[in-house]
Amino acid sequence: MSQHYVIVGAGEAGARAAVALREQGFAGDVTLVGGETHLPYERPPLSKEGMLAELFAAKTIATAERLAEAGIAFRGGFAVTRIDRESKRLEGVDGRAIGYDKLLLATGAAPRRLPGVEGARVVYLRTIEDALLLREALVTGRHLAVIGGGFIGLELAASARLRGADVTLIEALPRLLSRGVPEAMARQIEARHVAGGVTLVFGDGIAAIASGPDSAVVTLASGRRIEADLVLVGIGAVPNVALAEAAGLAVENGIAVDRHLATGDADIFAAGDCCSFPLQIYGGRRVRLESWRNAQDQGNLAALNMLGAGEAVSSVPWFWSDQYELTLQIAGLSDEGIRTVRRDLGDGASILFHLANDGRLVAASGLGVGNAVARDIRLAEMLIGKSARPDVAALGDAGVKLKELLAAA
């Protein structure tokens, strides 16, 4: 009898895995179950190009034709409510059910909610619907309050300014992007937002948010009041683990998987934003990444391993963010490093190499206009993947090609 592989979550990881199963020649049935009604789409543009384009058009990962051609059954608008591991069945509302032989959980993450805050003018950004609502509100003369100086909040603040809206961004800590971005680069990004006209408030907490039908008032811990047409909360994301947890699978800041992306149940895998996994290059440190490329890589890898390849996660974390004309790219996890070496690429672009105490290159952070840092970050990523110990002077010298260091590593 034909095998049935089912993927729950039709986002970046899930869609990628479905296609990869076919690319690997899997001849059984493939069903891609999406809680959203949309065909799989890319989220990164939602805070960037999608906000700025004249007309909003979702960027589809796989069109209906492509899915049909590949023989992938797409079940949109199907929120799985329960996994019955005994009978290997997924249940949805209205008594709908789907049987599986192997299952991939690619349920992603959801915006972290601000407790006790509800109301029509308080929004989050994860889906097309969220983006459309924000787009409508971000026009000249309107005022957006952003809570949280992380990537989503900053990208949206930049887009809002470019659309002519006023922006006040409130960050509880004394600096932006305190998770994962070196301070020097965060300060550069901060300066760009100030130049762009964003009002930044640091070191203040949220005491209350009162949301009416058309506007909201944010009261800060200091007593300061900020009136806004819309409040975007961007305080991080939490992995969607409820299904896995209820099914008795281990959860550890995400659905806990091994280096093959397998859960404790040999027939259930997890990939993307929803899972935590051991990162080989850092001695098996367990991490959960919220990154587009990680979702793709893990979607691919999960598909391979559902087919029995037994391959381990080997990729180096990689992330990018666009704000105004600036692009930030980070390869590796910078908190693995104890010191940095700076390479100046000219025109304000630079790379910080993060080194461990044994001299291993563990991460590289780059910031510059357009794609000025892309090539070197990509080469750094390969050096990191090789656990290379490049010469410090060479790293700091923009005259030395990283390709040469890679060839020597």
Binding site: Q296, N371, A372
Partner: protein, 103 residues
């Protein structure tokens, strides 16, 4: 109708590297392979309109600087997500130290 146009000097491109060439509103990418041969493709990625000349050339592959979409620059073939549309390629001729492409 096609024509041969002068794109750059042969020495303007490093080995295993790429440069951008703009002509009549169109962007091209000119490559020099590790075995010292020259190739040309459309200069913008097929995922988003990003100049490939900022990307990394490794062997036969150009990697887009934005999201690492990969193409074989000799054939134009897209090598998988996020790029699925091939790049257009153009015939190349090197003469008198100059690189010409047929567009």
């Amino acid at each position: 109708m096609t024509e041969w146009i002068e794109a750059c000097g042969a020495g303007d491109v490093d080995e295993e590297d790429v440069i951008r060439f703009d002509h009549e509103g169109r962007v091209y990418a000119i490559y020099r392979s590790p075995e010292d041969r020259y190739f040309a493709t459309d200069g913008l990625c097929t995922h988003e309109q990003i100049s490939l000349a900022d990307g990394l050339v490794m062997d036969d592959i150009i990697e887009c600087p934005k999201h690492n979409g990969r193409f074989n620059y000799k054939t134009g073939e897209a090598k998988g997500a996020p790029v699925c549309v091939n790049l257009r390629t153009y015939p190349v001729r090197v003469e008198g130290g100059m690189v010409f492409i047929e567009v």
